[in-house]
Symmetry: C2
Subunit: 113 residues, 2 copies
DNA sequence: TGAAATACCTTTTAGTTCGAGGTATAGTGA
DNA sequence: TCACTATACCTCGAACTAAAAGGTATTTCA
């Protein structure tokens, strides 16, 4: 069914990845679980979402990565570049604007005269 | 350039239209301006967004319309059906979930020990 | 031995927002 | 009268992207 453009999710994976990686270096598989817990189980993103976004963010210079062997397996750790930090700020501003706009619209009508 | 899927906008036009039309009957051109003012100028949607969404919502039974001649011009007024009201409730729940999930994720780290 | 968890990845699909462009009438001011 | 703006409807094409499903390979644990 591939529910695309699901309500209110556009830009969300990117924002969450940047936000989490701004706090500390993490690898893909770890991010999948971190997003669930960081959002209080409200948002869950599969690997099919995470990896492509990670790759495109690295391609455009927002993230850098380093491979790190851990007990036979290899993990790819990602961290923010300064460009990524700028991008995070922009997305947070965008989010704030949309969020407050919608709040205003939804709350209206309480004191409908 | 057609910047599509701009951050955080997916589902937003539908939510706002349903919300405004739940308060009172309105026509397309009017909705364009109402969205701007209802969101405190934070969100602005062009006619190229409004009309297609209006049509698809009517097609799926969330809205019904009636034509009304007003001073030589014809306006198409839209209003919610019961299906549209259910849809509005679902979208509001979705929004609430995403909104609180993101707030939690963004606020985290204040008291980072 | 087998199943589950870890860890990486790609491909395909299904939209949906947005800008630009198009038609036509009514109202306004010069 | 002429031009311009506002009103009011609409369509089309492009770009972007979240999600599901499927794929590989290793380690851990019962």
């Amino acid at each position: 069914m591939a529910q695309t453009n699901p309500p209110f999710m556009s830009g969300v994976p990117e924002l969450l990845l940047l936000r989490l990686l701004d706090q500390r270096e993490m690898y893909g598989y770890e991010l999948v679980r971190s997003i669930k817990s960081a959002t209080g189980e409200a948002i869950s993103l599969g690997e099919g979402v995470i990896y492509p976004v990670l790759h495109s963010l690295e391609r455009n210079g927002s993230l850098k990565s380093r491979r790190k062997p851990v007990g036979g397996r290899t993990r790819v750790y990602y961290s923010l570049t300064s460009k990524g930090r700028k991008r995070l700020n922009k997305l947070q501003d965008d989010w704030q604007r949309v969020q407050s706009g919608i709040s205003t619209a939804l709350e209206e009508g309480f004191a409908a005269s």
